[in-house]
Symmetry: C2
């Protein structure tokens, strides 16, 4: 797909982001959110305080997908980033997820994160797992039956992880 | 230790809970929170909406330790519980942690949780890891250098997990 750009998300994008979010939530195969999620909760998730969000757009207009980047923990776990990705069903298979993933890893490094963790990758979401492995992530944990898949019932979820900087060059711990 | 009781925490307990919390946070060896954590954030963590908290008391009065029990995820991950435990430094080694752990597993089953997950057990916290293994948890994941330990620098954290009910008897997934 040509002319895909990735830029920080803003309030004007929320309508499109919410519609992509709802498409994933209705399917019930990738994220824990259910259709009971309020628009307000969705807004806080994507555009709330402390959240870095980016959208991929075609020709500067239509939102094809998005990601959010946050610290995975407070304080003493704050050097590990967490990120979530969603691509519009109508844009899937066009490499948008990969572009967002690469952008996100660059953005996380730019923000000074030293590692990135995905807490809950649904084990049946093979396209995502393949992509994350290509982008450097490893499965570091398996959570038995931790996801209630809409079609398949209880399935495992994976914890995926990668270091973003050589640990020999990590900043000193300042008590 | 005799006469230890475990009961739901209430507002009157918060002063003691906050002081135990601060002792752990200052040590910087077990939880990601730093001393920058506000009292309000501490209150939300222990007594906020949606949090089940219990305290262990000696003779009904002095708070020796506490735990909080919450769903680890929303919606499609809501059947997995998460819990956090803190014991007063002055009560450590007296079996309070074990009593809280056993109570918490019972309470989680009572509330209908099907599994329990600890997201971030500091790998150098060997007493805790030994206890969780005794209580049925397994290490299901290792997060390299995910914890910034105050004395030891970056150390691994573990994800620990156990099923609380036989999966053959889990409720059917209702789309």
């Amino acid at each position: 797909m040509k002319d895909i750009q990735i830029r920080p998300a803003d309030e004007q994008d929320f309508e499109s982001m919410w519609s992509i979010f709802c498409a994933h939530v209705v399917a019930g195969e990738t994220y824990p959110f259910t259709t009971a999620t309020s628009r307000e909760a969705g807004h806080a998730y994507w555009l709330g305080p402390g959240v870095s969000s980016f959208v991929a757009t075609a020709g500067g207009a239509r939102v094809l997908g998005m990601y959010r980047l946050v610290p995975n923990q407070v304080g003493r776990g704050h050097h590990v980033a967490n990120a979530s990705f969603m691509v519009s069903p109508s844009a899937q298979g066009a490499g948008v997820g990969r572009m967002l993933g690469e952008h996100c890893l660059g953005e996380a490094r730019r923000q000074g994160f030293l590692a990135m963790q995905f807490n809950h990758v649904v084990s049946t979401n093979t396209a995502a797992i393949r992509l994350w492995k290509k982008l450097g992530f490893s499965i570091v944990g398996t959570l038995p039956k931790a996801y209630r898949h809409k079609r398949l019932g209880y399935v495992d979820a994976y914890v995926m992880y990668q270091l973003l900087q050589d640990p020999d060059h990590w900043p000193t711990v300042d008590a």
